[in-house]
Every structure is written in C-alpha cells, then in structure tokens.
Symmetry: D2
Subunit: 355 residues, 4 copies
C-alpha cells in the first residue's frame, strides 16, 4: 500500500520492452540516433506544432534547463509559492540561471490567480535596476496541490505574462494526468494557451527515466544543446531516452496510464470523503489527493502498512481550515501501477472495517 | 564496423536483465532503495575501503560534481591539456565549481609528467590573491590518448599534489579498461595511490547509463547530496542505477567486458601496425587506438563502411611526428560488443585484401 | 530640499581632507598599505574584538561578499521580506553565493519576530535534500523601515539561528544611525548579540565610498581575499579606503554625524505628526521616516521642490492601515548634511504655512 | 624609488581637486548625476562615436563585466596566455560569465599573432557541442609585456575574430600609455580597428579609482546596468566617478600624464640597456620595462631601496633567451608621478656609480 509518490513504482513493461528492443547494434551517441529523432518528431505531431525537443533523464533537469534558457541571471521567475521549482529542487533553477530569483505567489489549491500574479508583477517594475527583472512565469500542471488549471486559466495567465514581456514555462511533470483531467488536446493545454517551453514528464507516469523539454519557439532553444552538455545532462547512449518516449507515446499508452492513475485517485477520494472526520481541503483533479484525517485513522493506516507523506502548507489560505491538533494532513498519490485492491483496502481500513 | 566510441553500443544483456528484474513493486525513490544501497556497499568491498558512493547517469555529471565537491570557485584544477574535463564537457567543471579554472598541462600520450606538474604548480603560488588557488589534480585513467598510468606514476603525482595541499580526482570513465591493462586491484589504482575522489564509469563498458562518484574520504562528500539534487542529477527511480551497478560488478562482469574490449584493440593495433605506411604514435594500453594512416587506406576503410573519428593534437609533442599532408590521424575504439569479425575485416581492408 | 536618500549628499569634508592627505608618495597597492591596516586595527579596537576586516567601495559588495563567505550555493538566507539584500540588490547575494535562496519573512516595521523566524526555519528541515539548507540569518540594522532592533532582540534572533546551525549576518549600511538610536556600544550591538559578520557602512553617513566587512570569527574569512578579488572589489589604490575609514572613526565623527541625521529625522517626524491627516505607520528610530500623507500635502511639497520617494509595502501587516485612495505613502531620509532649514521648511509647507 | 606598479602612486592633484569640487549639494545617486552623464558624453566625443558608457571603480570589474556582457557561460574567451584577465584576476571573468573558459594563446612580447589566433580558433569548431563555443577575442593594450599593438595589427586580429562571429574586447587598463605610444586617435585604436567593448582605464594613470566600460555597439550593453548592480559595482555616490573622469579627460591631462610616464620608461630603458650584462628581451613601448639584469646589479638596486617585481614567463618563446642562473628578470613600471631623479638614480646605481 504505497501512496508516497508515483515515482516509487518502476517502469511500465512496454517501456522496458522498448529499451530492450532498442539495444541491438551500434547507433550514434549523444542523441544523434534515430530513436531520439523519431521521438522528437512524434512529439511535434502530438502537439501539432514544430518544436525543438530535447530529452533528459530527470524532471529537475528539464525544469532547470528550461528556465536557464529563458531567464537571465538578473531575472525573476514567478511561480506559485509551493512550486516544485521553488521548494523541491534544492535551488536547481538558481544554479541553471546563474542566480535568478524565484518569486513565490500564494494561491488556493496550488493555483496562481490572475489578480495575484498582476499584483506581484507590479512590484517588479521593468527597468528598475535595483530589482531583478520580470522574465518568466512558470506554471505547474498538475499543480503541487494535485489540481489542474483549466486551459482558459492558463491562457489568461500566459496572456498577462506575455503582455508584460515574460516567457511562460510549464512544469508538466504530470502533464498526462492533467491532460486527462482537462480532457483536451496537448496543443490546447500548451502552446495554444501561451506556453513557450514545456517540461513534459514521462517518468512519473511509466517511463524509467525520461523527460522532454519542448520549445514551441525554437529561437529560445538556440543554446540549449550547450547548456545541457555543460550541465552533464546529455546522455551518451541517448537511444534509450528516445526509445522510452516512443513507447510512452505509442498507442496512447501515456494517456491510458494517466487515466488509470487518475481513476484510482478519484475512487480513493470518493471513498475517503464519506468517512466521518475526514475532509478534503480541495477536490483532486488527477492522481494526487490531499486530505485531512483524524489522528486515529492515520494510526490505523500506518499500522496496516500504508505509506504516504504527511503534508502541510507554509501558509493556509482563507479557503482552508488548517488541521487541528488531533488531525493529520496527508498526501496520497496513485499510479497506474497502484493495485486496485490497495485502494479498496486503504478505504476499508480508514473506515475501520478491516485492519 | 563501428569504431567511433564505446558508447555507440547499447547495454550488456545482463545489465538489461537486471533492470527488468528490479522493476517490480514500489521502492523508495531518489536512491533510498536497497539496490542503490547494495551497489554502494559492493563498491566499498571491491575497493576495500569505506567510501561515500553516489550514482549518476552520465560521466560528465560524475566528473563535474566530483570536482565541484573539492574545488572552490577561486580554485585551479590541474589536468592534462587534452583532458575530457577540459576539452569535451563544454565547461561543465566550470559550471559545477561556479567558475574554477582548468589549467592544462602538456604531456606525451595523454599523461602528465611529475616534472611538468611541478613546473605548472610552481606558477600558481598559494596565497597569491590575484591568481586562482591550486585545488585539485585530476588524472584520467585511461587517459584521453588511450594510455594507462602505472599505479606508481599515479602515486607519485598524487603525492606531489597532496604535499601541495591539493585533492586528487580520477576521471575513471574507462576505469575497468585501465585496471585490466595494469592488472592490479581497484584499491591499488585508486585510494592506495592517493586518489581522493573517483569517477567510476560503467556506461562505456556495458551499462545503460550509470556512473559512480566514489569519495574515499567521506568528509569531502558532505554536501554532495545537495549538489547532485540542485544539478538535476538525483534520479527519481534510483533503483535502476543501483541495479545496473550491481549487475556490472556481479561475477566480475565489468572486468570480463573490459578484457574483451582491450583484447580487440590489441589485436587491431597489432594488425594495423604491420601495414606499410601505418604508424602508431604511441602504443595503446587498452581499448582505444590512435593511429596515423595513409589517406588511401582511410578512403578504403570509409568506402567499406568503417566508422571512426579523425583525430588531431592541438600541439604535437616532440615524441610524435605529426601526420603529413597525405596522412590521416584517426582514433579507433573497441567495445566488448565489437564483433570480432569487424576487427579482422578492418585489418583486411587496410591491407587491401578485401573491400 | 532633498529627502530621497542619504547617498544623494556628498562626502563629509573631513573625509575628503583625509583622502587628500593620504595622497602623497607611493604605498603598497591592493590594501597592503598602512592606512588600510590602521583602519582595520581601529575597527577592532572600537568593536573590542579581534576581527578580520576588509574594505570595499559599495554596500552591495559588502553584503554580497559577506553572504558569499558564509552561505553555500545550496543554502538559504533568511531575512525580512523587504530586506535590501532581497529587494534592492538585483540578485547580488544570489550571484555571490552561486545561487543560494533568499527566504523572506514578513514582519511589522521591518523587523523579524522570533516566532516568525522559527516558523520559517521549521519549514526548511536540515538534511531534507530536496530543499535548500538553512545557512544564514541576515538582519538589517537599521531595518529597511528605518527602525532599529533592540540589542536583546538581535541576541534572541541570533541565538535561535545559532542553535539551528546558522551564521548571522548584519547589514549595517546605517549601523551608526542604529547605534546612536540604541545608545549602546558597537560590541553590544554586534558580536555580543551574536553577529558573526557585519557589513559596516560608512558611505551613507559621510564617506565617499567605503564599507567594511567585519568577520568576528576569522575562520569565516579564510577565502574572502580571493572572493573579493575575483568579484573585482579589491581596490588597487586601497589607501583611499583606509584613509576614509580612519577619518570616519576619528574623534567620533561617525557617531556625531549619525546623531545629527537622527536628530533631523526626529524633528521632522514630530513636526509632521502634528499635522491633521498625516500619520506615521510606525515611529522612526533613526534617520528615515515613513509617513502617510494626504495627496494635497504631497502636491504642495512637490510643488515647492521637495524630493523624496513614494513608498509602499508589498503586503500590509495588520498593524498598518494601508494608504487610502487620496493618501500617499512616502519615505523621507535625512543626512548629517541635510540643512536644518530644510526640515523647518518642509514642515511649514506641509502645514500650509509657506509654499 | 618605487617601480613596482603605476598603482602604488596616489591620484593626480587635479583629479583630487575635481572630487572636492563635485562634493557640494545633493545630486542623484547611482550614476544619474550630471557629472557621470557629462563624462560619458565627453568620452563619446573623444572617441568620435556614440557609445554606452559605464563607470566602475576597478579594472577587474571593468574587464569582468565587459566580458560577462558578451560571452555566454558556454563560451570561450581567447586571449594571450599571460593576459591579466587570465592570470591576475583570480578568475573574475569566469565568475562574471558564469563559467566561460579563457583560452590562452602564446606569443612573443605579450602579443597574439594572427596565425596563432587562427590556429587556436580552428581547434574550437562552432557547433561542436562538447566544446565551449568561440565567443570573444580579448586584447590587452598595453599588453602584459608592456608592448603596444599597432592599430593595423589590432584591426587584423579583430577582423579575424569578427569573421568567425566573435566579439572583440580590449583591456585598456593602460590605454592612454598605448595611445601615446602609437600616436593615433582613440577611435583609430578602438572601434575603427574593430574593438566592440573597451575597458578604458584611468586609475593607473592618475585617477583615484575610476575605469570606464565603453560599448561602441549599445545593443551589447542592454543588460549591463543589471549586471553592474548585481555585482555590487554601482557606486552610490556616482558623481565622484564622473568627476574623476571629467578631470582626467580635461585639457588632455590623460595624454600628458601618459607621455610623462612613457618618457620616464624610455629614458630608464635606454640607460639600462647600455650597462654591460643587462639585456631587454624586447623593447618597451610605453611605461613598463622588462629587463634581465645580473644578480649583482639586482642586489645593489635592492640595497639602495629600489622596489620592483621579479618577473618570469611561464614559457619562454624562441625569441627570448631565458635568464640564466645568475640573472634576474625584473619588471620596472614608471608613472607620471615617478620622480625624474629616481630614474637617474636607478641607472646610476645599476652602473655602479652611486649606491
């Protein structure tokens, strides 16, 4: 009963099969192989747009390299105050931008509101030499609260950013889960909504270690190959990144896996919500549930071997009643690989029906 | 007939098998899994020394992170003027040290002589504020010229470095090939010879993407986990790095593969050396051959589909007669996965026997 | 009637005299001159503590170099959310630390409360690899709101910081003004209260361009000479920094000048506070006044040629009623060089007595 | 008898007078004052070109900021192997470029030959991702050997650089001395010869602490104000930089001072050259003499209180017979402030006439 993260599970068998299948014979190294090139072309098709596509092995690399390509050292990256790039990457964006500042914006359920974005933006006037300069808006889709922005909301925020001369990055570590939640096309949720650069995650949703950085405007990617090389992220046997991505995209595997994971979470949320004393501070959109549970239930779950992270918010927005003394705030993440029985069991334990 | 590099080949089947075998069930992410821990322990055994061991996916990451851990921004890293860290990583050490200077030392056949090292060191007096401060000696084993330092030579150089207050790093991208060439123990060729930090490569010798950074003095590794994280090199499904390394080390696979690769190269060198007009500027120790061939032979080889890199030296040492107009300087690399028949065929083509 | 800043005025005549007097004959460059050495010794006497003292020409250099010496790239610097280092140095601390994160803490009147510091600190648990690590608490004395921490408050905050393994930096750009306000000894307001490194400003209070970085623990200053050099802050004709500081400290000039400036501000605040519609959101401690004035008064002042900055707070704490539509929030800074008549005149204009 | 450097002397009295004269009354800070603006305009006149001009207090700041503006982190800066930026700034260019590589080119008497530049350039092919990319050619005028490039030679080198897509920087710490030596116009020795960015020194030639960074193409200076701020090089009382530069340029003071300094050196060189056993490895062009003297003379000079640096070359070019056992290689620098009698005396001591 592991609900700690979607990266505690391994890779999907089809991804592994593709790796094994790509193994034979010599091919060019460092990404000049046909697997890599086909995977890039396939992403262009799926996104219905010409793009410069680069593969790396980790999500932090994808985000930090993407930000490094569009934010100067004296720039500001605006993001939600709980954003992964700000809170969970040990300063990677600062390293890859050579010192830019991440400016956190508060917001309910992991989302930045246009009003809050505008207010923050106003406090960084362009040309004010003493301050870092507005450079990037970075949105997480899924957000760190497991919610998904509506495409219109992305477009609204991106529009404000572009008007102010910023570039827009999307941290799509769970892009597939968000896409399934919004039930729209990849194009609609990215470049059509104003995203300039997308970190397109595959690892959490079934790949072994593969993420793509997709620049919808190739001009922004001019120096990316050098930045990737000098940060040690150009994998020598690049074929294995390409092969993973091809398998991930093949026959809608990526969407199918995200649907399963999201479905697990929906069932879990519905089951828990009915239990007295359990409350969800906001409704999940995809495969992450944030839930406040009585301490007694927390104890029963742990006693039964359930694994998950305790959570917390640095600042509780007015919409959320913070956990009281006896309550525990927890995050539960589901994967396509989560056993369906584990969902049932977790609910039953929380209900006090089984141990 | 691919002789371009040992990373144009895929992974050894046993490595792939291990990846597949490690896939089932949830395990802790980010390297807290048992595969990673076992692999680290196994390396300590093999090196007969307690060590702090970290896994990453690329050789450049291993080197740059290792150097970042032992060289301050105002430091100098002394290395051979053709060293991979200086010439082939697009400035990664400079990025990871936040601006240190790599000081190239010339030397025949990829090796630094103690006299040249001392001379260079003398031109960076400690405490001279206007100059970067001597911080690290980095040795490549194999060198970039395909040669292997004798363990005594390493010890001599490392001794000079330690006396002067430097730390010693070894770029062991082809550590296994060098070890087989020197026929000694891993300990003898590393910490017993004075190496403080070792980039222990597995990728070129059969892994899919796996390198270890081994600190023989754990104090130097104190901040490594943070540096690895903020550079995006902490793989989320870390089990797959651990699994690769376990398989690589298991039942001496790593040494067996290196022996095969070295044997191929020896046979290739012997075959080519006999051909009139072909000359080897220095003798190969392991799986890389550097050879100067008549242009006519180069054409025949290429016409037959042989792939390899043209080479060149920025400065030719007195020991080497530079290629003349009609000659071509080439590098040929062999892998455990190189077909034995390809060796024969290359020689035969060069001999003009077959096309 | 210039109230924009204390750096719109020139240097005190005694400082200029000292520069001229120091000019004759050759002396060693780069700070090896007797002026520099005497000035460092004099600071040690005044602070009653052995210290490593370095001079630079700007306050941003002093702060950024100080932070660079005590915060690693993966570190967090905790400071007030309006701190100069965070908001007014265009990312200098990020540059000099090679990417550390500045974590802003809100607080009334420019001050951090122990409770808020502890709360923030708790959200950066040590050893949590995904997050930057707590490294430094930086306090501004004067704060950016023109207030001065009581020495006990500094000691309390520094104590919490030290307990958690942090170093403590003080941005003392207006140290003299704060010292006069607190009426204590330099030692009491610095190392006795737990300050490890002090940016000791002189420029705003009468020097031409001179700040000292004072390390009360010399071990932290080990690499400072290199960092200063490689950031271009080692002035070649260093004698002129030493000479400025000697004159600044001579015969209590620094304290006398700060007293005059503070006195001007006190008189100005008292005068303005009596005017109907004028309100001070908090009381000034030294030479900076923050005041909310009716728009009509603002217009009269500007019409009369008064110069000052409009101000604003990103977030208004509960203690402050934000300016309403018709009001203007302004900052008025006084200097020892402010004409006494300008104070009277400003008050009289605001009273509507003169134009 | 101080011949160690031109920065062991103070500032010229006219410069000090200008500082004192600029002191009265409030003016805008951070370079928005009329002194700064007039000085920038005056430089544009003197250089007969529109330019973006920025003032800083040190030569290292000028060079490092200039390079940071035109070289990306993955770039290479080509310079003479003894260049100040490479050997005497403790890695400042590496810091300000966030990690670029300085590639040293050998050459007689401090100069790079076109052939050597082309050879080096050829070893950094554009688009080769594994290598840093050619970005900047930086020439020192005066060179570190005290010689001055002919304007045609600068134009030749800059032409090669521009053809290859590089920008060209000139380290003009001793620009005035070189200009007097070449007897040409500032325009001819800078932008007309292809210089894009010039570090225009004044400190060594009579200023207290003032250097200008002059961008002849303003597009390259777009982000300079931010870079200067975040590196702590925006002086708050900027009027004093402007005032120094105005006085320096007024009535050809700068050229007169350089003429005096150069004249001193010429007389010194001529006097020394006649002494048996003394030899000049190359002829000086301006105010720095490099000379190899018998050890006995060295002892006499030191005994008499003469101060100068011992010198040395990392590698002696074929044109120079290295100092033998009994010889000492020294550098003697003259300033406008050097006493004429000191020149006579040094020669007389070396001749053995006086002690």
């Amino acid at each position: 009963m592991d609900f700690t993260s979607d990266n505690t599970f391994g890779a999907h068998p089809k991804i592994l099969d593709a790796i094994v299948a790509a193994n034979s014979g010599p091919v060019a190294s460092y990404g000049a192989d046909p697997f890599t090139q086909d995977a890039a072309a396939r992403l262009c098709e799926i996104f219905e747009h010409e793009a410069s596509v680069f593969f790396v092995a980790t999500g932090t690399a994808a985000n930090a390299l993407a930000l490094g390509a569009i934010c100067p050292p004296w720039g500001a990256v605006f993001c939600h105050e709980d954003a992964h790039i700000s809170e969970d990457e040990c300063g990677a964006p600062e390293m890859f931008t050579a010192g830019a500042k991440l400016v956190g914006i508060p917001g309910f359920a992991g989302k930045i509101s246009p009003a809050d974005f505008e207010k923050t933006l106003a406090s960084y006037p362009r040309g004010q030499v003493k301050q870092v300069q507005p450079a990037v808006l970075s949105l997480s889709q899924l957000t760190e609260a497991g919610t998904a922005y509506a495409c219109d909301d992305i477009a609204h925020l991106a529009g404000l950013a572009h008007e102010a001369g910023l570039k827009v990055h999307m941290d799509g570590a769970r892009f597939a889960n968000a896409l399934v939640a919004q039930n729209c096309s990849p194009a609609t949720m990215s470049w059509r909504a104003g995203i300039d650069v997308l970190s397109f995650g595959a690892t959490k949703n079934g790949a072994l270690a593969c993420e793509a950085v997709i620049f919808f405007d190739s001009a922004m990617a001019e120096a990316f190959a050098y930045q990737r090389k000098r940060s040690g992220h150009t994998v020598s046997k690049g074929r294995f990144l390409g092969a993973q991505m091809l398998a991930y995209l093949d026959a809608r595997l990526w969407l199918d896996l995200a649907k399963i994971a999201n479905g697990h979470a929906a069932r879990l949320a519905a089951g828990l919500a009915k239990i007295p004393g359990v409350r969800l501070p906001w409704m999940p959109d995809a495969n992450e549930i944030f839930v406040i549970i009585p301490g007694a239930i927390d104890k029963m779950l742990k006693a039964a071997g359930a694994a998950y992270y305790e959570w917390g918010l640095r600042d509780y927005p007015p919409e959320v009643i913070p956990p009281s003394e006896g309550e525990v705030f927890v995050r539960l993440v589901t994967s396509y690989a989560t056993a369906s029985a584990d969902i049932d069991r977790l609910i039953a334990i929380a209900q006090g029906i089984v141990k």
